[in-house]
Amino acid sequence: MIKVLFFAHLREMAGTNSVEVPLGDMALASDLLTGLKGYVPDALLNELQDQSAMVSINHRYAGWQGQLEEGAEVGILPPVSGG
């Protein structure tokens, strides 16, 4: 399984903090754009299409080309605004 976390307005669109999806034949973070189908609202997947959100894998910035592995924790991160 892959645990996918959403933050800020993406979390609000997801209606949940996180979902778990089977790894299946997903290889890259960008495969989540189809792999998440049915787990989160389509509006959220449409929002992610332009890949302007950032991606972390196991707490490190990885990008949409990052490799997924069984048990990975993936963060879908809107542009940050701390400080």
Binding site: Q51, L77, V80
Partner: protein, 183 residues
């Protein structure tokens, strides 16, 4: 401990005293405190890419969200990069999360050094990188309703002054959407 994420307000004095005790030979301490502004101009929203908000707004409070675990690791990495670049005797970063009212404190950076130039640079470097890299998100709640803020162009520009990341493990390159693949 260099980095503290807290859901309650913090005391500047407490952390100043901590850094002075940790840096007994320092000659300079620089502190930065970020406060919730009670008013945000339309220009700020535009800089944040939130062009749909075209009028100024009074802010009642912020909701500050973060990615537990990743945030602490990123902030610690930023502090370590600052220590590599500048001669720093002690550093402390405190960042609030949760609901923060207008005019309250959001973030504190304290940097101590033998020389004031390093203390100033250290604190400013940490703030610039924290703004552009650390996994915090702000929702402003006020007269114009609720609004998630995005990364500001001015903050991206500020972070660029420090040049290339100092080590290969640095995350800055990946932090910017434009550097990501477009498959």
């Amino acid at each position: 401990m260099d980095v503290i994420i807290t859901s309650t307000d913090f005391s500047v004095t407490e952390h100043y005293d901590f850094v002075r005790a940790a840096a007994p030979h320092a000659g300079a301490v620089v502190m930065f405190v970020g406060l919730v502004r009670d008013f945000v101009s339309a220009q700020n929203y535009q800089q944040a890419g939130l062009v749909e908000v075209e009028t100024a707004a009074n802010i009642d409070y912020l909701e500050l969200e973060h990615y537990p675990g990743m945030t602490e690791a990123l902030c610690q990495d930023i502090v370590e990069q600052a220590r590599e670049r500048f001669s720093l005797d002690a550093v402390r970063v405190v960042h609030r999360v949760g609901k923060i009212a207008a005019s309250e404190q959001i973030v504190l950076v304290v940097a101590a050094s033998k020389h004031r130039e390093d203390a100033f640079n250290g604190a400013q470097f940490v703030m610039d990188y924290l703004k552009t890299q650390a996994t915090f998100w702000k929702k402003e709640v006020g007269t114009s309703g609720e609004q998630w803020l995005g990364l500001k162009q001015t903050d991206c520009d500020a972070a660029k002054r420090w040049g290339e990341p100092s080590d290969a493990n640095n995350t800055h390159g990946n932090a910017h959407p434009n550097s990501q693949g477009t498959s």
